[in-house]
């Protein structure tokens, strides 16, 4: 292994980890607070991607400056989060709190299937991609940066920036703000928190909306780099799940570490042994689960008989 390869593995791994973290953090947040393993997270990600295609296309169609397409990506994520999050939480999930976790997995899985079909109804089955009037893509618009002999689109730095900012802001909110402390109280004991006067319903509402928005941010940031196609949500939920399981379901630092591990392992296997790429990520997951069955950062849990 050359230094150049090592450097490439580090950068590729970091970029991929940032992408993974943005997608996985909402999943782990919702699980941590609400104990819901939200399979529909993948659909919210896809909704973010499809909506950002619609918004950016409308933006380009009006002939506005191409740089504004980034604002459209952000707007798409916010809109999806603020619409889909409350609708799903108020319209469906709130009737099911207190039900078994497995029931909620099934409910969100059903929701995932419904949303996948909804996406087909609205956007059709043709793959879409974001392209300006002269073929500009937000992915290439910011230019490139070089490290050693390799060059990367600067857009990747945006991904890293969003991931790091999200991690810092969430950690700060949880540890330092009143809202965060209330949230932690709900995480630890929902009933006692409610007895102390914390509005658990509101906490759930805000958490789910935030989680949905994070999924949509992931989709919106991914849209310029891929062709947006039905079924993209299913692809992503599997790898996001691997990330949060490695880190420990519901753990924020766990999601960050899980993303970093998966990102680096995948990059290393692609550079060194590409034939193992498919297997490597799940091998790491299995290895972690053998040593720590509840993931690296899982909190100790009181055993309930």
């Amino acid at each position: 292994m050359t230094t150049q390869q090592l450097l490439a593995i580090a950068i590729d791994g970091l970029i991929y980890a940032s992408w993974l973290f943005i997608i996985a953090v909402g999943l782990t947040l919702i699980y941590g607070v609400m104990k819901i393993l939200n399979i529909a997270h993948g659909s919210l990600y896809a909704l973010g991607a499809f909506t950002s295609v619609t918004f950016t296309s409308a933006w380009f169609a009006h002939g506005y400056p191409v740089m504004g397409s980034y604002a459209m990506l952000a707007l798409a994520a916010v809109v999806v989060g603020l619409v889909a999050g409350p609708v799903i939480e108020r319209g469906l999930l709130r009737f099911l709190y207190g039900k078994d976790e497995v029931v909620l997995v099934l409910v969100t899985y059903a929701l995932f299937l419904i949303l996948e079909d909804l996406i087909k109804l609205v956007w059709g089955v043709d793959p879409l991609f974001i392209q300006g009037p002269k073929g500009e893509t937000p992915y290439a618009l910011l230019g490139n940066f070089s490290i050693g002999s390799l060059n990367y689109p600067t857009y990747n730095l945006l991904l890293v920036g969003v991931a790091v900012t999200t991690a810092i802001v969430l950690t700060w909110v949880l540890a330092r703000t009143r809202a965060g402390k209330l949230l932690i109280a709900v995480i630890h004991d929902r009933e006692t928190a409610a007895a102390m006067g914390i509005d658990v319903g509101r906490t759930y509402f805000v958490t789910f909306t935030l989680g949905a928005m994070l999924a949509a941010v992931g989709g919106a940031l991914t849209a310029p780099t891929v062709s947006v196609v039905t079924g993209m949500g299913a692809e992503v939920i599997v790898i996001a799940f691997a990330v949060v399981v490695i880190g420990g379901l519901g753990s924020l630092p766990g999601a960050a570490l899980g993303a970093l591990i998966v990102g680096l392992v995948r990059a290393a296997s692609i550079h060194l042994r590409p034939e193992l790429e498919l297997f490597a990520v799940y091998f790491v997951m299995a290895a972690v689960l053998i040593v720590r069955p509840k993931g690296l950062f899982s909190a100790a849990e009181v055993r309930r008989i």
Binding site: V125, L150, M232, V236, R266, I270, H271, E277
Partner: protein, 430 residues
């Protein structure tokens, strides 16, 4: 189990017999249209570039056939004067689901013929079931040579060439234009078609140029979407050539992510299944990319009345020109029509007679002459063509087109593709 079960079990065979008797005979009475089950991707990543164009083409072809507006020798209405109707099924969902759907088509919807299957996995899974149910099934688009090289069928046909020629002609074209190449890399999806495609290509290259080296073989997961590390790895190898059989959303994502990184500044790109994307990729595919169309389809088809007809009827339904899956589906309908009418004129139009007529037949298609010469007369062969991209007025066109005859790119009957390639690709007798 309750005590009534044995009685019920005894009744079952009788029930099946009654149902079987109630089914109409396979011969086609004039009073009922010929029902064809069409199986193609209507959802998922293969729908946009393959499944939907095939569906649009099939519907346009059937309308035109029923109106009797297809050029000679296909001018009779429908199949031998009998109108055709389609029963369209989504191919998405995997091989197990497709086997169930196939049984539904045959046993419940009672179709006369099935035309279908883009995925190689679906073709391999459905073929034995077609045989079991004795339903004449025409595979129209899947590529794996294994269908007729590893098995032999009576009721299953494939009216397009298998994928071996993509690798053979692709390598010949590449070496023609880049005789001094020293090495090459590959990026192919980690599933049946991607692996077969890479295996064939490397086998052809090591036969034609044993000294040319493989730098890296990237095998991302099907539908991976993110190719950053793969592109870095390819960039680092600085290979003369990059071979790829990526298709669908994966190909588009790969191009979107690799173009800004100048991956192809020093590397010649060859996309063996690139043709369906050309209208989607202006600005995102470098000029000079070698493009395959899985046969002499699309821009590679020779000018003919049938080609003009396909373009015209397709364009009435979609704004763009038909791509290779549309040409593939045309071959299936026209091949079946020719056989049906030949059988009808000779000794009746029941399934057995149509099978006899289709075996070893030769028929005209928008892609030129198709010969059912492999797989005991069940597998079609054609020559093929390759060309390179050139952007003209913002549209991608294909230039420097070279055509390769059958004997140069296809193994003869009874020889497995990989053996033929490793044995030096000696032209067979056709």
């Amino acid at each position: 189990m309750d005590s009534k079960s044995p009685f019920c079990l005894k009744l079952l065979p009788a029930l099946f017999a009654a149902v079987a008797l109630a089914l109409p005979a396979t011969s086609h009475a004039q009073d009922r249209p010929i029902r064809i089950g069409l199986v193609t991707f209507l959802s998922g990543p293969a729908a946009g570039p393959f499944g939907v164009p095939a569906k649009i083409a099939a519907e346009a072809i059937v309308e035109s056939l029923n109106a009797g507006k297809v050029p000679a020798p296909y001018a009779t209405k429908g199949f031998g004067g009998i109108p055709i109707e389609l029963s369209i099924i989504d191919e998405a969902g995997g091989a197990t689901k497709q086997v169930a759907e196939f049984r539904n088509l045959v046993e419940r919807q009672n179709v006369d013929f099935v035309i279908g299957y883009i995925g190689s996995g679906d073709c391999l899974a459905v073929a034995p079931v077609a045989e079991e149910l004795k339903k004449l099934t025409v595979l129209f688009d899947c590529g794996t040579p294994r269908v007729f090289e590893d098995a032999s069928y009576k009721y299953v046909f494939r009216t397009r060439s298998h994928a071996t020629m993509d690798a053979v002609a692709g390598a010949l074209y590449l070496l023609d234009g880049k005789p001094a190449m020293k090495n090459y890399a590959g990026i192919n999806q980690n599933y049946a078609y991607g692996q077969d495609s890479w295996t064939d290509f490397t086998a052809v290259m090591s036969t034609l140029r044993p000294k040319v080296e493989v730098t890296t073989s990237q095998m991302p997961k099907f539908g991976a979407g993110q190719y950053g590390p793969e592109i870095s790895a390819l960039l680092q190898t600085n290979s003369d050539v990059i071979h790829s059989s990526l298709w669908g959303g994966d190909l588009e994502a790969f191009m979107l992510q690799s173009m800004p990184r100048n991956l192809f500044a020093n590397s010649q790109l060859i996309l063996v299944a690139g043709e369906p994307y050309l209208h989607r990729l202006p600005g995102n595919i470098p000029d000079g990319t070698i493009i395959g169309a899985r046969g002499p389809n699309g821009a590679y088809a020779q000018k003919s009345a049938l080609k003009d007809w396909l373009i015209q009827v397709y364009k009435q339904k979609a704004e763009i020109e038909p791509n290779y899956p549309a040409y593939s589906v045309a071959m299936a309908f026209l091949g079946l029509k020719a056989a049906f009418e030949k059988a009808k004129a000779k000794n009746g139009d029941d399934t057995e007679a149509v099978i006899k007529a289709l075996e070893f037949s030769t028929f005209d298609s928008p892609s030129g002459k198709v010969m059912m010469k492999l797989g005991k007369g069940h597998q079609a062969v054609t020559g093929t063509s390759y060309g390179v991209t050139k952007t003209v007025n913002g549209q991608i066109t294909l230039t420097n087109i070279k055509t390769y005859p059958v004997e140069q790119v296809q193994p003869p009957e009874g020889v497995k593709s990989l053996d033929w390639i490793k044995d030096g690709m000696k032209p067979g007798k056709w």
